[in-house]
Symmetry: C2
């Protein structure tokens, strides 16, 4: 049977999941609270076949950790485990190297199917994932193929987005970030365009759906 490692910051759920995975017959090698702890615990003796990886975690998130794994231990398959089914997370996670993506409200049978598929076929794409991917491709056509926009924000934009989720005015955010209010206007307009929103509320909703800010 394929061996498993769990990475999730919700201790109770992770432990429960470990029990479930074991009851399905897969040995759980170890568990970790976040990407950093995972990497520390990982060595040649503890290499699993599959890593069940949460996306939103403190310290080192699922995207980063999956990318690191792809670079350092490409034989280890990552199965992303998320609360949400938003398109950006799915695409970013697959781009980072994940071999599959399942929601936390799936049935145990789907988890088993996903683990088996990742091990035997090398990937697991549920209808949900396929659907989102197709939708993303269609959107690309509409926009002339600017894939980068869906994927990543730079440092400054991420910082700004966090501040945008507070009750600060743009002027106050400008002070906090040591730039002029006009520059903040620029960040805002760039994000409006990239994220396809029109208002600050749109920014906030995006930030939350994508784990840029933790609720």
């Amino acid at each position: 049977m394929p061996s498993i490692v769990l990475v999730d910051d919700h201790s109770l759920l992770r432990t429960g999941l470990a029990q479930l995975v074991q009851s399905l017959g897969y040995p759980v090698i170890f568990e970790a609270d976040d990407g950093k702890e995972f990497i520390e615990k990982l060595n040649d003796k503890t290499l699993p076949d599959v890593v069940l990886m949460d996306i939103n975690m403190p310290l080192m998130d699922g995207f980063e950790t999956t990318r690191w794994l792809k670079d350092n231990y490409p034989s280890v398959k990552v199965l992303a485990l998320s609360m949400y089914d938003n398109e950006n997370s799915i695409i970013r996670m697959l781009k980072s190297g994940a071999k599959g993506y399942i929601l936390k409200d799936s049935e145990p049978a789907e988890l088993k199917a996903a683990i088996d598929a990742v091990v035997s076929k090398g990937y697991y794409y549920s209808d949900l994932v396929s659907g989102k991917l197709i939708h993303a491709i269609n959107k690309l056509d509409d926009e002339g193929g600017e894939l980068k926009n869906i994927l990543q924000l730079n440092e400054r934009e991420t910082d700004f987005l966090k501040y945008a989720c507070t009750e600060m005015t743009y002027k106050e955010i400008a002070d906090k970030m040591f730039v002029s209010p006009r520059t903040i206007d620029g960040y805002r307009d760039a994000l409006f365009e990239k994220l396809h929103v029109k208002t600050r509320v749109g920014l906030v909703m995006y930030a939350i759906k994508n784990g840029v800010v933790s609720v």
Copy 2:
């Protein structure tokens, strides 16, 4: 050993939790996806000692379900299980009749302690809960004791709050809700006051933290 029922809409996590609870030695009588399903499955033969209840669920949420249980089967103890540690949820849940409140990222040992305490002592208040309660009491003093404000919003306010989390302007929201824009201004100002926020972003963050809108 006390018997347990689990109510949570995240199937994978709920199943895992069930395994965990059973491995701690507590029999799990049944599981449910939400409050509605829970009530349908409940009868004199399936009465548990403790219900582990998620807060944010579709159809019938944790508050409603706990209140119903308090009215119909007061002997069943509810232990609230939440992602978030925000004050309002804790207070509302305890007001609804929950005997304890633990976070999903607690250690399994705390879950065990909580279940045991709820059964033997009738309640379980962690340091987190106590701390939040004390903070809430202090806030009350500052405001002259307006407890109702923390607890519940009426129908119209809830509707408005949902719309406020979209990119609609207040004018558009007014159209949707069949009232004049001025009335919307009124809803908004009332919520600013009740929720102690100053901007629409504040409303959005409140709505998300309290599960008024689902992310």
